[in-house]
Symmetry: C2
Subunit: 173 residues, 2 copies
């Protein structure tokens, strides 16, 4: 399964070759990394979405439930905390919460200490569903990763990505 592959050509290599023909002056080294990251991200989003989809959840809804789940008992956060964590505007969050509340997966209740604010809490159904969804999503990821790389190279990849993430998310000048 995980013997180091002979270096095959992938779709990103093909794009880079095309650029080399028409714009040989360009330095395309960064595409080798970011072009692939973009495509992997998109492909894995599709795979995960398929895993939750079987449970009737979209990616956005899953993200809300998972954020509540991993906050621990009593599975309660404010809409603001959720939209900040998920890098979503408050308008977008209102829509997600509406849908999830209608599906009975969470509950909105007034915050007892601040009458402007709300508390969003997972219901029992929501808790049970998200536990299954997290398992399914993670299984899809694990399967893909271990089919591509052994544990050692996967760990090496994770380290390189960690350093790149720091820089990428640092406020641009």
């Amino acid at each position: 399964m995980n013997t180091p592959q002979p270096p095959r050509k992938d779709p990103v290599d093909a794009i880079i070759e095309q650029w080399a023909k028409v714009r040989p002056d360009l330095d395309t080294a960064a595409m080798e990394v970011f072009g692939r990251i973009h495509r992997i991200s998109r492909a894995m989003a599709d795979r995960s979405e398929k895993a939750y989809g079987a449970l009737g959840l979209g990616r956005g809804e899953f993200d809300v439930l998972a954020t509540l789940r991993r906050s621990g008992a009593p599975y309660t956060l404010s809409p603001r905390q959720l939209s900040a964590t998920l890098m979503l505007t408050t308008g977008g969050m209102t829509g997600r919460l509406d849908k999830l509340e209608r599906a009975g997966l969470l509950r909105r209740s007034p915050d007892p200490h601040d009458r402007r604010a709300l508390r969003v809490t997972l219901t029992e159904e929501g808790l049970a569903l998200v536990d299954r969804a997290v398992g399914a999503g993670l299984a899809a990821q694990t399967e893909t990763l271990s089919a591509a790389l052994g544990p050692e190279r996967a760990a090496q990849l994770a380290d390189l990505l960690r350093e790149l993430l720091f820089t990428a998310e640092t406020a641009e000048r």
Copy 2:
């Protein structure tokens, strides 16, 4: 700039720690890779968008122009080729082409050999603009990459990503 970093904790490490507290049974190793890939992809999309944005282009428009540009002279493709390359429905492509044609960056003309089909061609303005935009986008990527990793580790990262991309884009069973 590129001395191997002391292992700092990043946002993905924090999320994984949270899961470990509330669901210690989960195998979260794959998140180390795909969680970071997702976040880097998002962060870099924002950065690139900012680079083209200065030229009045959104990411979607840029992608269309760049695909035409790297196809080489005479910078002509069909709407179908474009939507297939960019993994976009034909409806979405119609909208992008409308906007770009209105801006004078490309032209639609009938295909002489197939009366169902069109040919989409970059105008001179479109060609000049996309050449500037590609330079700007690539500069933003190059800057981020070289601030995070030296050339050697960047190449190593590219190789690991290539293998992961093969598996991620392979049709799921």
